[in-house]
Symmetry: C2
Subunit: 180 residues, 2 copies
């Protein structure tokens, strides 16, 4: 499917409500459950998405649109949320994510990006040359990948409770070593 700015915004706009429907009010054991050491819980994922709103997607789009001599992005800290959100509730993270996302999408809409602007270059600190279009497409895929991750992490908590059904429920075994 070719990149479509309006569709991308429509998908990005849904994430806060989707995460609220899935997570808001769930008990701590499930909200804090992981797939093993050094993997993200649903709580961590929402914190990571907030980090993306504050330090990744829109800040990087601004660097590209500034068209300065240096279009290299700041490195992104995948673990910024850990210290930042210590002691917070999931409810407050969900509300913060919804606010930040709405503000960022309003800003993105206000830019009225042209096809030419979507082709503008940036430089990822480890991946190299990218375009604004690729940055925005990656934002969409990143949201959906983390939604899939949350569902998978939740599912895995019942990995020992389903008996022989494990053969029919690949969500439990497709990621023996999670990469997201």
């Amino acid at each position: 499917m070719p990149f479509d700015l309006d569709l991308s915004i429509e998908i990005l706009r849904r994430s806060p409500a989707t995460l609220r429907a899935l997570l808001d009010g769930l008990g701590e054991p499930l909200v804090r459950a992981t797939e093993g050491p050094e993997t993200f819980s649903p709580f961590d994922v929402v914190g990571h998405l907030i980090d993306g709103e504050e330090t990744d997607w829109i800040p990087r789009a601004r660097i590209i649109l500034a068209r300065g001599p240096n279009v290299r992005f700041e490195p992104y800290d995948r673990f910024r949320h850990r210290a930042r959100n210590s002691g917070r509730s999931l409810e407050s993270l969900l509300a913060e994510f919804a606010r930040l996302r709405a503000t960022n999408l309003d800003l993105l809409c206000s830019w009225k990006l042209t096809v030419r602007e979507l082709d503008l270059p940036g430089e990822h600190p480890s991946l190299g040359p990218v375009t604004l279009r690729q940055l925005l497409a990656a934002w969409v895929v990143h949201d959906l990948g983390h939604l899939a991750q949350i569902a998978r992490v939740m599912a895995k908590q019942y990995g020992d409770e389903i008996g022989p059904w494990v053969a029919f429920l690949p969500v439990l075994t497709d990621h023996p070593v999670p990469r997201s």
Copy 2:
């Protein structure tokens, strides 16, 4: 995490609203997108979940709870939804799923299942002996696995649009041959 009936019901109750937030009103190209031949689109998944409400989880729980001489389940048709929902809109499927799920969970709650009843046996037509507890746990995992699948299918539609970010977005490459 040990099986918990109340928590299971709470997770199952969220699925219709989660799917609505994610999908309701999205355009047909994305709603009907797949991961390749013979794989499910988001539309197909919602149809498959409806089939589960009508022919899988609660009907099988009834067989177990009847404690008859034959506790073997009817085989489940993974493709029942294809002919059944031809010509339907996603909106009508989402509404139907929400109705069926609410009715089924009200019924499940009304049973006030005891620990002893959760241990009652059934027989899966291909997997063999199972318990009511395992059936209900599998229902939860099945929901979450299909939510992960929908997010993955949606993400993959931008697989050619993200350039080098593919290295950081495992949702695009973790399932070269999808099993759900």
